[in-house]
């Protein structure tokens, strides 16, 4: 389907989340695709790259979820931040609780796209598109967030560590709707970093982006979350790097050991935005920067 085919599509809204799950399930059972459209910042652009639709090609149904109340809203209760899948990045960066208790998430949302994209883009959309270059998903990786999904079979939570299985592949079933993300809030004042390396500050897809959140106790990091965009087929969670940092006092972490751990955690490629070698260099540099902020001699 090309852009010219867009008017051929049907679009509807669902009366409720349950009704939406029903539509998706019924169509999936018949082998028909359903597109859940939120901000359209990926999907609409993708249509431009596709060849015109043949008469015999299946026509996906588009369901507009951008205004669905059950997928929106940002709430915090008992240390758990819940962000609706269709809440926009603009809503995220302006939300007082996010600014106060999840400042890294607010910083990420502020640097994602430009305001026009922030006003439309959503975490749910980035999770569904499942690009390893998505800034928002890197932030969720660092928070070790849970993804709340729902289908006619019920609701479940997918831990971030169990979400991604390969390039744009995930453990979410085709009939599961992304409802929200949940973040267990770190203690107030926890050190964090959002560092995006791109061509310019706005409207740049990251060459490398690092999301970091740490809990420190004297000379040790006792909890560490890391997420890195654009350095592997999936959002990198930098498990070797996390293990290294947690295994010894900050003062005993060396730059060489840290660099080696980072390189073992990533598998960057050459593409239109950057090169494999530059991404390796930048990945090491941004992780060193975060650890230096935390007090490691790197």
């Amino acid at each position: 389907m090309s852009l010219a085919d867009l008017p051929l599509h049907d679009m509807q809204r669902a009366a409720s989340l349950d009704a939406l799950c029903g539509i998706v399930a019924e169509r999936h059972a018949r082998g028909e695709a359903t597109v859940l459209l939120a901000g359209g910042t990926d999907w609409v652009v993708e249509q431009e790259l596709k060849p015109p639709r043949g008469d015999a090609d299946p026509r996906p149904l588009v369901v507009d979820v951008s205004c669905m109340a059950e997928l929106r809203g940002i709430t915090a209760t008992r240390g758990l931040l819940r962000i609706g899948a269709a809440a926009t990045y603009l809503e995220i960066r302006r939300h007082p609780t996010v600014i106060e208790r999840a400042p890294m998430l607010a910083a990420m949302a502020r640097e994602l796209g430009a305001i026009q994209i922030q006003a439309r883009g959503t975490l749910g959309g980035n999770l569904a598109t499942a690009s390893p270059a998505a800034d928002g998903v890197a932030a969720l990786a660092a928070y070790d967030a849970s993804i709340v999904v729902k289908s006619v079979r019920g609701e479940r939570r997918i831990p971030f560590s169990a979400l991604q299985t390969g390039y744009k592949q995930s453990t979410r079933a085709p009939d599961e709707v992304i409802v929200a993300v949940e973040i267990a809030l770190p203690p107030e004042g926890s050190p964090w970093l959002w560092r995006k390396v791109g061509t310019r500050r706005a409207q740049a897809i990251s060459k490398v982006a690092l999301a970091g959140i740490a809990v420190r106790s004297e000379d040790r990091v006792v909890r560490l979350g890391l997420g890195m965009a654009s350095v592997a087929p999936i959002t990198a969670t930098l498990l070797q790097t996390r293990a290294l940092v947690l295994s010894r006092p900050l003062s005993a972490i060396t730059a060489d050991a840290l660099d080696a751990a980072v390189l073992s955690d990533i598998a960057p490629i050459d593409d239109v935005r950057s090169t494999r070698e530059y991404r390796k260099h930048a990945a090491k540099a941004v992780v060193r920067g975060f650890l230096r902020d935390l007090g490691a001699p790197v």
Binding site: L3, P7, G40, I117
Partner: protein, 158 residues
């Protein structure tokens, strides 16, 4: 599909396939060609309009998604005459070839509605999604700063 939206303060109904881009609906059947198409893929900001008060790229919004919502285009800022914000762009050299100007005006309007006294950095952030190939941006920043000052002096009415 019949879609009812509030367009520049007036209730309008259009009957269009729901995935027609808001940009095409505005420039075609809705008769408002002030919104320009630049890149058509959400990069350049030429087609910026306000959707419920927030700036969005009209090339990425489907008309069906506008059901029940309020859209403001550049015509809504100035009709029937040049508004004070646009006048500042004229006076301070903020417009040259003009393709980016409607989008710049909308992004500036969205900023000034929230921040009556923005810093230059806030102005630059607000227009970071609007590409201009003529001015080098400084004159646009000057225009918006001046519009903010005039608006404050007029008690927010300008």
């Amino acid at each position: 599909m019949k879609i009812t939206l509030t367009l520049n303060g007036l209730s309008r109904e259009v009957d269009l396939p729901p995935l027609v881009r808001l940009l095409d609906a505005l420039r075609g059947p809705l008769g408002l060609p002030g919104t320009k198409e630049g890149c058509g893929e959400g990069e350049c900001g030429s087609c910026t309009v306000l959707l419920d008060g927030e700036p969005v790229n009209a090339c990425l919004v489907s008309i069906g998604q506008c059901e029940g919502r309020a859209v403001t285009t550049v015509e809504g800022l100035s009709a029937p005459h040049l508004g004070p914000l646009a006048r500042c762009f004229v006076d301070h050299g903020g417009a040259q070839c003009g393709i980016c100007t409607p989008g710049m005006l909308i992004s500036a309007e969205a900023l000034l509605a929230r921040r009556p006294d923005p810093s230059d950095e806030e102005i630059r952030e607000a227009i970071a999604g609007n590409l201009c190939r003529c001015t080098g941006y400084q004159r646009i920043v000057d225009s918006i700063r001046e519009a903010a000052r005039e608006r404050r002096e007029a008690g927010g009415a300008a």
